[in-house]
């Protein structure tokens, strides 16, 4: 049964929570997470700016949810798989995929800009919860081959209302597939608050109906996330079947830059979450323990700035997409019809070129 209170190891004040029996991650893991958090925040802010500069069509930001993003990537081994959504760009980058490749989707040059097999990261899913079933399939195939792969599949609170969420948890449970379902409950599905999605005691409680262990964790506490997600990954790898983790966090910005959050929530509601910021919390804790100083902060900031500079460079680089690509990746061998249609576009292109 999920606990009444989410697991928390570091409080909003940056102090160790004395009451929690759960183990604290190692100092090295926390420092590593902090560096990644600084980078993830910088990535969110830079991407938001790139939308305003017209270099990205849209950006669903994980601002405020960076601890979830970073922890999801950090608890996995290289051979494991991550299944992200459109809001999980920071997690994909934390897993090692170059930011410029991830943002190809939102830049509009192509759909998925990275090869999923390079870092075992599925394409970012837009249709809600559909990717959770793919995660079950990847995990089941690995299990049939007796490989130790674990799949961490991400979704939001809104996605838990979708039928595929239900089917994925049920399939994973029946087949004992090593999947960690990681729900980032950020309180809003675009404009609709959690109360309109579910009246379950918590989203983690949904696991009960499938015979899946569900756990709640403070989604702004990187230490708690590393421990809870890490333990879930370990249990899945050891054969305990799927795990459901609900992280309680908050979408600090609008759904995307195209959204106007003031139409459905008050500024005061957002302000109430500001003191729970995941970066400030871990920074205070690390400084209090002597694990972070100004020099360490500067190193993290410099790395984040390098990431942002790389993003700007990639996104201000104009790529002229080749229309021939439209027909290249429909089938392994283009059909006669696609060959004809491709020739139509090529002909139009050559005539346009002649006019110039």
């Amino acid at each position: 049964m999920p606990t009444a209170v989410p697991v928390q190891l570091i409080g909003p004040d940056g102090e160790r929570v004395a009451t929690s029996a759960r183990a604290m991650p190692s100092d090295a893991d926390l420092v590593r997470a902090y560096t990644a958090l600084v980078a993830a925040r910088r990535l969110n802010d830079q991407a938001y700016a790139l939308v305003r500069q017209g270099r990205l069509a849209v950006y669903p930001s994980s601002h405020g949810q960076e601890a979830c993003q970073v922890a999801a990537a950090q608890v996995l081994d290289a051979a494991d798989w991550l299944f992200p959504t459109y809001r999980d760009t920071a997690a994909v980058v934390a897993r090692g995929v170059p930011a410029g490749e991830v943002l190809v989707l939102l830049k509009g040059d192509w759909h998925s800009g990275y090869d999923p097999y390079t870092h075992n990261v599925a394409p970012q899913a837009t249709p809600l919860a559909t990717q959770l079933l793919h995660a079950v399939g990847v995990a089941h195939a690995a299990r049939l081959r007796v490989e130790p792969t674990v799949v961490l599949a991400m979704c939001g609170d809104g996605a838990t209302s979708e039928g595929d969420f239900h089917e994925a948890l049920n399939f994973a449970a029946v087949f004992r597939a090593p999947v960690v379902f990681f729900v980032q409950n950020n309180e809003y599905a675009i404009s609709v608050p959690l109360a309109r999605q579910s009246v379950a005691p918590s989203l983690a409680h949904k696991g009960i109906g499938y015979g899946i262990r569900g756990e709640r964790v403070d989604g702004n506490d990187a230490a708690a996330l590393l421990t809870v997600l890490g333990d879930a990954v370990t249990r899945a790898r050891e054969g305990a079947g799927p795990q459901l983790i609900e992280a309680h966090t908050y979408r600090m910005q609008a759904h995307t830059n195209a959204d106007d959050a003031r139409r459905y929530r008050a500024d005061a509601d957002v302000a109430a979450w500001e003191h729970r910021d995941p970066l400030a919390r871990l920074s205070t804790y690390l400084r209090g323990r002597g694990l972070l100083d100004d020099a360490g902060q500067q190193v993290a900031d410099a790395a984040a700035e390098e990431l942002a500079a790389g993003m700007r460079e990639e996104l201000f680089r104009d790529v002229t997409p080749d229309p021939a690509d439209l027909f290249t990746h429909v089938f392994a061998v283009p059909t006669p019809q696609l060959i004809e249609q491709s020739a139509v576009v090529a002909d139009e292109q050559s005539r346009e070129g002649a006019l110039r």
Partner: protein, 338 residues
């Protein structure tokens, strides 16, 4: 991956129903390739409600052929993940209309994965769908759903009309690097015929002339092919020579064979069970008209299901294109009176 003892591959000519031929195709592909897995509803111990997967769990074990929870989106979604991770899933939608819950997975992921990832992720998987009417099935058991799939770029859509093609095309579908929606005409499951299991597997994307003829061309697929052949046989007794083309592969479509056939006769009727509006039959008629206009002596006719929800069993014969309706359409092809 567990390997189990397999029966020796059947060779030579055998008298088989289409259902048995499909079963042989699954068995032969599972024997040849350990990454082929079969799953769906009731496909394990029961062998499928139509017995297409009969004996596969016993022969290959329950990791190769297994039952899933009763959820079609789950079945297709899990197959996608398994195909991403080195397997070749063959899944069964128990009936045409029961496949609709999987529609989002099919349209948004199965069809698009290669394209989204520029060919990095391919999905070698087969979705088998028993389809169409003619078996006295009650509602939700007799839909002709081919147009939904054929309209979705990225899916190959095949439908055999006899046991030999059922065997060959299913093997080709499983071996294909791209996803296939494999539509099995339920009413032909039990038709028995001579099948050469050692014959070369027909390539995807090739139509075939089933009967030679010189006066008009009947273009059909799946459950309508036997109707076309029967109509041609009757017409022959009346002195009219009808050619019959079996499309077999709706996507990719064999314009070359179909257009050549129609040019040779100058008249054509397209036959299909599905409602005619915005249908595969309409697409075929349009394509043939574009390619054969100057060879045509009459507009292309379509004999299709009416634009109504599939009727209850006692009325379904009004919906299904029958021999009389086909011959009436042939009679109306503006023949010169002598």
């Amino acid at each position: 991956m567990s390997t189990t003892t397999t029966q020796p591959a059947p060779t030579g000519h055998q008298k088989l129903t289409m259902a048995q031929a499909l079963n042989h195709a699954l068995r032969d592909e599972m024997s040849a390739d350990p990454s082929v897995v079969v799953f769906g509803e009731d496909v394990g111990a029961l062998g499928g409600v139509f017995r297409i997967t009969d004996g596969l769990t016993a022969e290959f074990g329950d990791t190769r052929c297994f039952d899933t929870p009763l959820a079609e989106s789950g079945i297709v979604g899990m197959a996608i993940g398994m195909a991403m991770n080195g397997m070749r899933p063959v899944v069964e939608m128990q009936f045409d209309a029961f496949g609709y819950p999987a529609f989002e997975q099919v349209v948004s992921h199965v069809a698009k994965m290669r394209n989204r990832t520029r060919g990095a992720v391919t999905l070698p998987m087969v979705i088998r769908v028993p389809y169409a009417g003619g078996i006295g099935g009650v509602e939700h058991h007799c839909d002709s759903s081919e147009a939904y799939y054929a309209h979705t770029p990225g899916l190959q859509v095949l439908t055999p009309a006899d046991a030999a093609d059922a065997y060959g095309l299913l093997r080709a579908a499983i071996a294909s690097p791209d996803p296939v929606v494999f539509l099995e005409p339920k009413k032909l499951y039990w038709a028995k015929e001579e099948v050469d299991l050692s014959a070369e597997v027909p390539g995807i994307g090739r139509a075939v002339v089933r009967r030679a003829g010189t006066d008009a061309t009947l273009i059909a697929y799946g459950p309508s092919v036997p109707v076309a052949l029967e109509a041609a046989a009757i017409a022959a007794q009346e002195g009219r020579s009808l050619q019959v083309v079996d499309v077999r592969s709706i996507v990719p479509f064999d314009d070359e064979t179909v257009a050549a056939a129609v040019r040779s006769t100058g008249r054509a009727v397209v036959i299909a069970e599905a409602p005619g509006f915005a249908s595969v039959a309409s697409e075929i008629a349009a394509r043939v008209t574009e390619r054969c206009f100057h060879s045509l002596a009459a507009p292309i006719a379509r004999v299709t299901g009416f634009d109504i929800p599939f009727p209850p069993p006692k009325l379904e014969h009004f919906q299904l294109p029958g021999v009389d309706r086909v011959l009436d359409a042939v009679d109306a092809l503006q023949w010169e009176t002598s």
